[in-house]
């Protein structure tokens, strides 16, 4: 511990005491790990919910022992009721989209690494940062409370369309206090996310080290920065939407509820509201949200790929500009979730064009990634395998989007398993692969011990093959017309599809089981992992210039000075085939 007079002014004093160090910490690194832990908890819950759902779809009459303890009304005798299936579905989507996909790639890794990668000693507003995590945590608790209350969680899906979500208890089980808790939780989540986004932006703009121009920032930093710009504006729309929804439910207003509705034999006392208004507000947030889910993973994967390939991408700038255009276009396409919603059909065409246009930057990025692999010397590790797997998954998920972007094809595929396959491949798999890749890559830096490579690669193979087995068949089901959000398949045409459903369920359970390898690896490596050196991957960016794990103020007394762009690989450097960003030796010509 240095004496106070020798230290330059810091953002905050060194933390002392357990609470300040590990609970209410102002350190972006601790906050990043807290977000990661929350994301991990949420993904375990979300995955368990998906197992219950898949199990119920193919073995609806088989008892799941112990499930009645979770919900006496929802799963009497261990058999899931139709309404409880919808509750599981709603909570699965809500947990995964908000608490996993917004938390892990963005809030967790971004919080940890953005300040380090730009040479700052912490975020611009550490107190706001701490508040943003704990706000998100409170939102999580409020949401999970819905499992505990007698009426159970809501049944309106993570999209909570009005009037089903707006009329209150009459709409069905879980639609009383369950739905209220959902609305309150998401509103609180919005506030937490907005605080976080604000921090990311101010930090990136103002706390970069000397020599760290915007274009010298690593690609993942750019991804976090662009994502936070999107999040800043997207969550600012969801919060008003939730407020208006809560008012319709509790204060008798009619923002979303028209007149003359008879729900559960009761004439609803509202009038004049517009259900489509909810959809517009929700999807105006919802579409940028899915780019919030994927962009950080694109950045992380690019970053890891370059390091693994030992050569820079064909153009990092093109990747960055592509991410910016995706971010920009993401605001114009929300209506593609509403092609057959009853909105003006001419609008559907207007939304279709920018939706199809997003294919262009997405294709550019894919071609840059693929083209960069040419002539490389890829080091195969768990991290690089997941990064390569990301490219495969992103292609698969993106290609199915191409169908859904066309309104006339959407007539046939809307609300079928085709849509479910599409968004699971891009969000549920590709984005998560980015998180896995980041974890294997950065775990050593974050904890001081490396993850086990053999287990990591085994985890990769099982997950890569497993997720294809689960989600590729969803597209086939959708083409036949298998409808989504059904708790059972009782249509004439779904009978012949049950063998495929069984295959998917078994694949899901197996792939889920494989994730225990990852969790075991996370815990085991914390205690028994090989000690991590400062730069185990021979990386060039600033996180590899500090100890593993870094000290509380990242760079100690140093204020790094940046001399190079972030990806000087395949060059003759003093330490090997790379030159670090803060090394004064000359760049490759």
């Amino acid at each position: 511990m240095q004496e106070a007079s020798a230290q330059p002014a810091h953002v905050h004093a060194p933390p002392e005491g357990f609470i300040r160090k590990h609970v209410f910490s102002l350190d972006h690194k601790v906050i990043g790990k807290q977000y990661y832990a929350l994301g991990l908890l949420a993904v375990c819950m979300g995955m368990a919910l998906s197992w219950l759902m898949r199990f119920h779809l193919v073995w609806p009459t088989t008892r799941i022992p112990g499930l009645e303890l979770l919900s006496k009304a929802g799963a009497p005798g261990g058999i899931i009721t139709p309404e409880y299936y919808l509750s599981l579905l709603t909570m699965h989507g809500t947990l995964m989209v908000f608490f996993v996909l917004t938390n892990a790639p963005f809030a967790a890794f971004g919080n940890y690494f953005l300040p380090i990668q730009i040479g700052a000693e912490d975020m611009a507003f550490p107190r706001f940062n701490m508040m943003s995590f704990w706000t998100t945590f409170v939102a999580f608790l409020v949401l999970v409370l819905a499992f505990v209350i007698p009426d159970g969680p809501p049944i309106s899906g993570w999209t909570s369309y009005a009037p089903l979500s707006a009329v209150g208890q009459d709409a069905g089980p879980g639609m009383g206090w369950g739905m209220n808790l959902w609305g309150i939780s998401i509103a609180i989540f919005c506030i937490g996310s907005l605080l976080g986004a604000l921090n990311f932006i101010a930090t990136t703009l103002d706390l970069r080290a000397k020599g760290m121009t915007l274009m010298r920032m690593p690609i993942c930093t750019w991804a976090w920065f662009i994502t936070s710009c999107i999040a800043l504006l997207a969550f600012a729309v969801l919060l008003p939407a939730c407020i208006l929804l809560i008012l319709d439910r509790t204060a008798g207003t009619s923002f979303f509820i028209p007149s003359g509705l008879v729900v559960s034999d009761r004439l609803q006392p509202h009038s004049g509201g517009s259900p489509l208004l909810w959809q517009h507000l929700f999807w105006f947030f919802g579409h940028p949200e899915v780019y919030i889910a994927i962009l950080p993973s694109m950045g992380i994967v690019s970053h890891i790929l370059i390091n693994s390939m030992r050569k820079p991408l064909l153009s990092a700038r093109v990747i960055i500009y592509s991410m910016m255009s995706i971010g920009f276009l993401s605001w114009m396409v929300w209506g593609h979730h509403m092609f057959v919603s009853g909105m003006n059909p001419f609008s559907s065409l207007l939304f279709s064009f920018p939706t199809l246009t997003i294919t262009i930057p997405a294709t550019i990025m894919t071609m840059i990634w693929l083209g960069s692999l040419y002539g490389a010397n890829i080091r195969i590790t768990s991290a690089s395998l997941f990064a390569l797997g990301f490219i495969s998954m992103f292609v698969s998920g993106g290609v199915s989007g191409f169908f859904l972007a066309q309104p006339s094809i959407d007539i046939v595929l809307h609300a079928t398993y085709f849509v479910v396959g599409h968004f699971h491949m891009v969000m549920g798999v590709a984005s998560i692969f980015g998180v896995f890749a980041g974890t294997y890559f950065w775990y050593g830096k974050m904890t001081g011990r490396m993850m086990n490579e053999k287990l990591g690669q085994l985890h990769f193979w099982l997950t890569f093959i497993g997720t294809y087995c689960i989600f590729m068949p969803f597209h086939y089901l959708g083409l036949v017309g298998n409808i989504r959000r059904y708790s059972a398949f009782v249509n004439d045409f779904t009978g012949p599809l049950m063998p495929l459903h069984k295959f998917i369920t078994i694949a899901a359970l197996c792939t889920g089981a494989a994730q225990f390898i990852f969790i075991f690896n996370l815990i085991y490596s914390h205690f028994k992992g090989k000690p991590a050196s400062e730069n185990p991957w021979e990386g060039t960016t600033l996180e590899w210039s500090i100890p593993s794990p870094p000290p509380w103020n990242n760079f100690g007394d140093k204020h790094p000075i940046i001399y190079h762009d972030p990806y000087q690989y395949g060059v003759k450097g003093s330490k090997g085939d790379y030159i670090m960003q803060d090394s004064p030796e000359p760049s490759a010509s």
Binding site: A9, V11, A124, F125, L207, L233, A236, I243, G273, H280
Partner: protein, 206 residues
Amino acid sequence: MSSATYPSVRVAASAKVRSAHAEASRSGIWVGICTITMSFMAFISALYVRQGSSTDWTHIVLPRILYFNTLALLVSSVALELSRRALAPVHGSELDRGAVRRGLGCLTATLALGLFFVAGQYEAWRQLAAQGLYLATNANSSFYYVLTAMHGLHLLAGIGALLLVISRLVVAGNRFRRSTFEATAIYWHFMGVLWLYLLLVLRTKL
């Protein structure tokens, strides 16, 4: 760099860190203003769509006190600017006691006028309720209450910030944290501009 560096370098480093954070405060407040603007845009778009989706749009007469409230808020911004002038940094030396006193006085006026605004908004609510217009009475009244409540909540946050700045000024005198003061000022002016815009919407649409 070991801890045995030269004092001038250490001071320079710490000054750099401090100025970077002043910059960050300014960026932060503008970023915050962007997000708040976006959320009000969402509310107002909802207003437009709601108006168009049904034939039940009526008309409410805005309570006259609203205009006095507006005047109070605008004058409070003037007082805040006067405070800023008084507390403007003097090159190379510290502020004298007189400047601090003047700045404090103007800030207190800002705070008082801000509180007057909030009280006046509450009174306007009471007057509407007296006419039988409550939150759920009709679409127009719903938006009136929601928009004024949202603005009021954000203004209360601004009042909180003013209180913080005032207390710091009282305690620390001329060594108060300037960046917080600047950010609060920008925020407060924004609340005024936002209110003017909302008033226009309330007048023309409700």
